[in-house]
Subunit: 243 residues, 2 copies
């Protein structure tokens, strides 16, 4: 045994939630250490020692400090005993395919879904991010979900790629319902896959997303107040979340 | 045996060069199939069948089609017999650290070094990319190269992360010498590491970069002609390559 596992996370961050869900689902014993981004705790000397890049998520496992969520998920799958093989298959070809999706995630879905909701005050960046997001959704629908099974690559059970990408897309929850519907509804396989991944990883999926659902409620109330006070025109409101 | 390996590449692309160098260096038998990006060959139906995302590099190995350069390098390291362990260590912890650097590469160095030389006509994007590049170089210098050995993570032999990141940085070769010096010279460890990786992977490193050195010469001549004709002010010229 390598000793204690600490997970340094902020549940408002989608890759952090993926790691928490993975650990809980697989019975990995760990301590959740909150790094509150809104309070700049990621810049503290204590956390910088764990991750000199000052980003969550990060883990400390015995002497090993590790960051980047994909690397962490792959590590946890390999380092802990008894993790079901479907999460990160040992088969060289299946693993290569999952790595390929995870790499694709970096420069596509991650790039699109993050900024799409994170930069409402910069309409040009938001529009650009939405373009990337829609293109990514189309690729998910027509390439990655184009198989027999319900999960990525036509698999019958989820992998760390399903978990990672669905957590990314769930970030869209904070959007206005109409916006979320407009963006996601053309992608029927994607919608089914989000539901299937949610189901396969519950109750932990819901538990870790509670914070997001609460944020969503808050944003809805804000939007209602703005609409009532009439300070925004119909044209401006709701294209992107008011996060 | 899985059958024939085809590598679909354009040597003008840095991740393509990394894969070619890796294969040659490790005696992997393959066929190089040129996908000329400048001629839009990546959009052809034949190549789309290999990579529906229409990007190089991609490989076809028996029935397996695979894309994303990191996933390809990891796959080649595992699927072919006799590849030295230092390229992609089987040790779970060392592999996790290398994966972490490769993931970091996606949203940092890759994002910075690519656009820094690719968008000379968009000064704002180029300036933003240079900022990312300088921050990435500083992290390489102070975090990733902060160990006993000459390679990333203080290793004494190169991994696929060294190869991948050094190929990225070599793209800066096409810059004006003064610009390249201005950008790289403060980072002594980075400069040493580029040289060490080049040496460790020669003669294939030079062979695969010849195309870039030729492009560099062409750009230099273009810059000289522009300077002589006086069509650009001193202020404008040379901040980024005229690629």
């Amino acid at each position: 045994m390598m000793g204690k596992l600490n997970a340094y996370v902020d549940r408002m961050s989608q890759p952090c939630r993926a790691i928490l869900i993975f650990c809980r689902l697989n019975g990995i014993d760990f301590e959740e250490i909150k790094v509150d981004i809104a309070k700049s705790h990621h810049l503290s000397p204590e956390f910088t020692e764990v991750n000199p890049l000052q980003k969550v998520p990060a883990i400390l496992h015995g002497n090993l400090n590790l960051f980047e969520s994909h690397a962490i998920l792959a590590y946890l799958s390999s380092a802990f005993p008894g993790i079901a093989d479907h999460w990160y298959p040992t088969d060289v070809i299946r693993r290569a395919k999952i790595n390929s999706i995870l790499d694709w995630h970096h420069s596509n879905l991650r790039y699109g879904a993050g900024p799409a909701i994170g930069r409402p005050r910069n309409p040009k960046a938001a529009a650009e991010a939405e373009k990337v997001l829609l293109s990514s959704l189309s690729k998910l629908e027509n390439i990655w979900l184009n198989g027999d099974g319900r999960f990525l690559l036509g698999s019958f059970q989820p992998s760390i790629a399903d978990l990672s990408l669905v957590c990314e897309l769930t970030q869209l929850e904070v959007l206005d319902e109409m916006d979320r519907g407009r963006i996601l509804s053309p992608y029927k396989k994607v919608l089914g896959w989000i539901e299937d991944t949610r189901t396969a990883t519950n109750p932990y999926f819901e538990e870790m997303h509670n914070i997001l659902y609460r944020a969503k409620k808050k944003f809805q109330q804000q939007r209602s107040r703005i609409a009532e006070s009439g300070t925004e025109t119909t044209n401006n409101r709701g294209r992107h979340s008011k996060m």
